[in-house]
């Protein structure tokens, strides 16, 4: 005889699950009892939101499915923002929630909430298990759905009696058959031929690479394609790391806080090769003026992304890696005019991202220094806001999956717990959480978790004592009326200390490197409170509703010299 909880644990093991991030409660007690001596590691977080963010961070860093567990009602509801975060960024997560016994469903029983109903629009799929005989199949399907095609979160709601019901036999299921779910990986041959023709004929091509390249693990193919064709590349926030930042053909990020070079290149290009991107409004600005002179090739695994925001000339539905391999074979060599590459190099030298050198502590300098110390390595996890944008702009990435950030939902409080997950995925990599003082306080309680499990994440708070990104908009568009965006001074080092975590406050540029080195040299978690220039802004910036070539605010030392 075997019960539901045992089937669940056995199936998780068969899916290769090594770690679960979770938080117990009444209806999941049978499962926790099973976990007590199961060969699965369970990390007890301090808030269920952190459990799902950690599972998400684990998934982004490893490429594998992350798993979290919560009890019914309040526990399940605390997963909601995290599910939405994972859904927006197409991250494979399986969330297990307890539920009241099947006999009580719909009765407003103690700690009942209709979590499958609540999460319908923010999961790739969800299940309410109503019979223990379905349990194994449901779990298998959930992992399959989460981790294939366009990846995403799947929730399984488990009524308590499902966990306790005994069944006699439970043959392992090896085959999954979902007639309504058939992701398409191979691009259409003829479309690939046509794309190769468009590419061959182009004079000013640009590649616009995104999160799809990362989740397809297609970085190698992308780099090979770029190497062969010498086509310049820009990446979205989600695509950072797909190509090393130091590659001379890399233009930096595009979009609202993208580089001038990237945004100009898009605007002037005659062929845009969009790979694993979804033409998000933070990227395109005024959509009618996005890549106005270009023909567009769009490679995406999700047919619903084709033509969703922008009509394209040539769609290829398929996996980025597979389609790129096809294209690499078809293209003959260097593509585009020499003049185009020269123009791009000229923009690059003319409009570099700058860091003021005035003896004050600027946030960008913290990122730059970290990038230098780690030689572009490690795993960089961010919170949301200015801290996130500075990290995106100034870190020099060397590989995919080392950049972890909430892009689509922009969830404050994501970074710190996601950093815990990233460490579990890659225990030998240094993990740095670039935090805002506002965001950090959204899941600050996880200091308890990293202290308990000795998770060596290094927290770098870019402390401007503001909800900086919102303050920036108020400065620029609301006449500096800083309505409810100022945050009082907090002794973050003192808080860390209370949890037994060492830390340091830095107020001057000279202190940055020693502090980061100290953090690296310290075993276990470490916190640095960087007291940065409070009213620093993120530039360049495309104001809302403008075309992406209409950027404001960046200082241009070279312009000044020239004119």
């Amino acid at each position: 005889m075997t019960n539901g909880a045992q089937i669940l644990v056995r199936t998780l093991l068969s899916e290769g699950v090594g770690t679960i991030f979770g938080y117990p409660g009444g209806v999941v007690l049978p499962l926790y009892d099973e976990l007590y001596d199961a060969p699965i590691r369970h990390i007890l977080v301090r808030h269920e939101q952190a459990a799902i963010h950690a599972a998400d961070g684990y998934a982004r860093a490893s490429g594998k499915v992350g798993v979290c567990l919560a009890t019914s009602g309040p526990g399940a509801c605390n997963l909601v923002s995290g599910l939405a975060t994972a859904y927006m960024d197409s991250v494979p997560v399986v969330a297990l929630t307890g539920q009241v016994p099947t006999a009580l469903l719909g009765n407003d029983a103690f700690q009942e909430s209709d979590i499958t109903g609540i999460t319908l629009p923010i999961t790739k799929h969800n299940y309410l298990v109503q019979d223990v005989s379905e349990l194994q199949r449901v779990i298998k399907e959930a992992f399959y759905i989460a981790g294939t095609g366009r990846k995403g979160p799947v929730l399984i709601d488990l009524p308590k009696d499902i966990l306790t019901t005994e069944v006699t036999s439970d043959e392992p299921i090896t085959e999954i058959n979902l007639r309504g779910y058939r992701p398409c990986y191979e691009g259409h041959k003829r479309q690939i031929d046509r794309a190769a023709d468009l590419i061959a004929a182009s004079r000013r091509p640009v590649i616009y690479a995104g999160g799809g390249v990362i989740s397809s693990d297609a970085s190698e193919q992308l780099c090979e394609f770029v190497e062969k064709t010498q086509i310049p590349v820009t990446a979205t926030l989600m695509g950072l790391g797909a190509i090393p930042s130091k590659n001379p053909l890399f233009l930096g990020m595009l979009g609202m806080h993208g580089t001038r070079t990237a945004n100009y290149a898009i605007t002037e290009s005659d062929l845009l090769i969009a790979i694993g991107v979804r033409f998000d409004d933070r990227v395109t600005g005024k959509i009618s003026e996005f890549a106005p002179k270009a023909k567009i090739i769009h490679i995406d695994i999700d047919p619903a992304e084709i033509g969703k925001n922008k009509l394209v000339d040539l769609p290829i539905v398929g996996d980025a890696g597979s389609v790129l391999s096809g294209l690499i074979e078809k293209v003959t060599g260097v593509i585009g005019e020499e003049g185009w590459r020269n123009q791009i190099q000229e923009w690059k030298t003319r409009y570099p991202l700058t860091i003021p050198d005035d003896g004050k502590l600027h946030p960008q300098f913290v990122i730059k220094t970290l990038s230098t110390i780690l030689n572009g390595g490690g795993i960089i996890v961010t919170e949301v806001g200015q801290n996130q944008m500075w990290a995106a702009q100034h870190y020099e990435f060397t590989r995919p999956r080392q950049w972890i950030s909430s892009g689509g939902l922009g969830t404050m409080g994501y970074g710190f717990p996601a950093g815990m997950g990233a460490h579990v995925a890659c225990p030998n990599e240094p993990v740095f959480v670039i935090a805002g003082d506002g965001s950090f306080q959204m899941n600050i309680q996880e200091l308890g978790t990293v202290a308990q499990y000795h998770i060596p994440v290094k927290i770098a708070i870019i402390n401007n004592q503001y909800l900086g990104m919102v303050r920036q908009w108020q400065e620029l568009f609301y006449e500096k009326r800083y309505s409810y965006t100022e945050l009082p001074d907090v002794d973050f080092v003192g808080i860390a200390k209370a949890y037994g975590i060492p830390g340091m406050r830095v107020t001057e540029p000279a202190g940055v490197r020693p502090a980061l080195e100290e953090a690296l040299a310290t075993e276990g978690p470490y916190l640095i409170d960087f007291r940065v220039e409070r009213e620093e802004n993120v530039f360049p910036m495309v104001p809302a509703g403008c075309a992406i070539c209409e950027m404001i605010g960046e200082r241009h030392p070279h312009d000044e010299e020239g004119s």
Partner: protein, 166 residues
């Protein structure tokens, strides 16, 4: 903006209907009619949805429908050659005598069946395309309709005709 008819084959499971209708409601679409029922395969159901929207918006919803795990196929038959039917049950005032014979006359004209007769009212069953049902509804209006229910439109693409298609 025009009415689109979508014929959607889904797994017969709890929650499917909210998944499907959720895709419309989150985009602010108002579904004109929706009919669900068994179809040619045991464990599948067919949903016929009539919804107004411009072609691009409907195209996006169709693709989103296709992404639902429980949706097996989605067909937009708006621009196909199709047959459609709707069934209505109409309870109408029909006192014995002149009113009742008036109602019977209209029923005959529309080949509606009288399926229940009471002291002062009758229930009619009528099938046809939506225009036909609108028409009989209008004519019966003056007699006094006390209750009315329509199934919503169901539709199938027409059969392929024999020969070489000419």
């Amino acid at each position: 903006m025009r009415s689109h008819i979508l014929s959607v084959l889904v797994e017969n499971r709890s929650g499917v209907l909210s998944r499907v209708s959720g895709l419309f409601s989150r985009r602010g679409f108002n579904i004109e009619s929706l009919a669900v029922g068994p179809c040619e395969e045991d464990d599948l159901s067919r949903i016929t949805i009539v919804v107004k929207g411009d072609d691009a918006h409907i195209e996006q919803v169709k693709k989103q429908l296709n992404k639902l795990i429980d949706v097996v196929t989605v067909r937009d038959i708006t621009y196909q050659n199709y047959v459609e039917r709707e069934l209505a049950l109409i309870k109408v005032q029909a006192e014995p005598g002149e009113p009742r014979s008036g109602v019977i006359q209209i029923a005959d004209l529309f080949r509606a069946k009288i399926i229940d007769v009471g002291r002062n009212s009758v229930i009619l069953e009528v099938t046809g395309d939506s225009e036909k049902i609108d028409a009989i509804e209008n004519l019966l209006y003056e007699f006094g309709i006390s209750e009315l229910v329509r199934t919503g439109r169901i539709a199938l693409q027409r059969c392929e005709k024999s020969g070489n298609g000419k």
